[in-house]
Symmetry: C2
Subunit: 327 residues, 2 copies
């Protein structure tokens, strides 16, 4: 995954749009060589993807330099992995797995070709790890880097798990880490580069792309990707379902790295876990008698709708929950 | 489609992300009220779209403020229409029509809510005119406005018309205007606001979204959306098909407005027609004995592969053909 010799001296401007697109296609095809080919791959006006009688699951995410990532805090490879992971996580949260992504990429003309190669490699590599390939894209000039990722999957309509199926008495469970990316961001904001486990968690999430299918198979009634923060995203499930979710704080896993960093920064690890975004854990609601699938941890229960969408130990959740743009 | 009272004083920052998303959903739903609903609409992690045994046709386009549009040259409504039109045109060029779009929108925090309302209305209105609805999106802050549009359609795999089916002896035809947007851009660059027909052509393309289906039904063997310029996009067909396309310049329609503007600017109207982008005409290649479908005009023939991908009157085409980013 290292840059081809000389690419760091070449820029988008010197190489030109069409040559860059050719190089991007080589990278994305190489990462996808073990995956089934679309009926029409990138290079035509549109991609055509076989759907075999299932319905389409599709989501788009935008990633803006200086907002979602900084090039001095993560490598281009890491930024690419993060953009693909965050977008594909939305497909998993419906109860299926991604098969394809499309990438829109805007960057300044003096961006090095090596940077584009690494970014594209990260996108295609993360996609391949999820069983998905890059089937199309668009490239534009811009004053700063913007990446748009459209993630695509398919499933039978009867299998779809939305946010609206939670019912009183159900168990709320999570799969994956919480608070780690928020802690990593704090570390980087202080100008530090360690603890590495936190910084890495900020740079890109580690996602088990089969977790959504496992949850659906086990009977999940509602699911959401935890991208804005646990309280915020459980709030989305509670609002869509017309219920209140009560988190039991003692059941939330608190990694040692989080406790240590919180202590060093005078911060509360529980606040990171409850309100930190960007970890892309999966929150799922199951019937109370469900044997939870591998990797899921019960963290609360569904109660009748109350004034608050989300409670922590039956008290109102911290109000600063969730990342908000324009705030 | 006028702004709701007071919105021009409100900004993304003052109103906040989630309230804006609610307003955007109201707008896009209102524009789509006569269209079939997706299985899961925007508001969940992903949209789910019924596919009824057809395969997925999907394409993404990015639009960057200052590159693809300027807010002092077009209204937000016009910018929205243009972004949706340009993206959906790629679906038509496969031989089908769009059913859904997803919109990623990045904008500065001080952008007025009225601007976002108009932009979104333009996107959803143009989509509805094509029979498509907005099924999802993402919203982010950024230093300048960036719009990503993912356009989605479906079709039977055997019906797909790629760029690679042109054969020697076939007829090349176009549907729609050429050179008008390029002339309109020149008008605006000179600080003028008329002729209106040219300026409007630059602001957003007038697309017949059924032209791709008509061409496919009539037997089109290769098609491409003319977004980069006629010579450039016919070059894409020629390269994919392993042929050379010879344009007969006398057969190219030259609107009176184009001739007048070219005369006023000391420009060549043929150069605008051959190399101007952004009109989103449809170029299609038919067997020589085809009765061309309504609205299509024969402009050339397919020859054996030669040194040049595209000829004009059997001579090499102008070399400056096509818009290129980073150039």
């Amino acid at each position: 995954m290292s840059a081809t010799s000389g690419e760091s001296e070449l820029t988008l401007q010197s190489v030109g749009e069409f040559e860059i697109i050719t190089r991007i296609r080589e990278i994305t095809n190489a990462q996808a060589q073990d995956l089934p080919k679309p009926i029409v791959d990138s290079g035509d006006d549109s991609a055509v993807i076989a759907m075999s009688k299932e319905d389409l699951v599709v989501s788009v995410d935008l990633f803006v330099e200086g907002r979602h990532f900084k090039t001095d805090w993560a490598t281009a490879l890491e930024i690419g992995r993060r953009c693909a992971a965050a977008a594909m996580s939305d497909i998993c949260a419906m109860g299926t797995a991604p098969t394809s992504i499309l990438v829109g990429l805007a960057a300044p003309a003096d961006t090095s070709v090596a940077f584009i190669r690494e970014l594209t490699t990260g996108l295609a590599h993360e996609a391949a790890g999820a069983g998905a390939r890059v089937v199309g894209g668009d490239l534009s000039s811009a004053d700063s880097i913007v990446v748009s990722v459209t993630a695509i999957g398919s499933m039978k309509p009867k299998d779809v798990v939305t946010r609206s199926g939670a019912q009183v008495g159900d168990v709320v469970a999570i799969h994956g880490r919480l608070g780690m990316a928020a802690a990593g961001l704090r570390v980087l904001q202080r100008g530090l580069r360690s603890p590495r486990v936190l910084v890495d968690a900020y740079r890109y999430p580690e996602i088990d792309y089969s977790a959504g299918v496992r949850a659906r198979t086990a009977g999940a009634k509602a699911m959401a990707d935890v991208s804005d923060g646990l309280v915020a995203d459980l709030g989305h499930i509670a609002a869509a379902s017309g219920v209140t979710i009560d988190i039991e704080s003692a059941s939330l896993p608190v990694p040692e790295a989080l406790t240590s960093a919180a202590s060093a920064f005078g911060a509360d690890p529980l606040a990171w876990i409850l309100t930190g975004g960007d970890d892309h854990a999966l929150a799922a609601v199951f019937p109370s008698n469900t044997e939870l699938p591998q990797g899921f941890v019960a963290i609360g229960i569904v109660r009748e709708q109350a004034d608050d969408l989300v409670l922590v130990d039956s008290e109102p959740a911290p109000s600063e929950g969730g990342f908000s743009h324009f705030g």
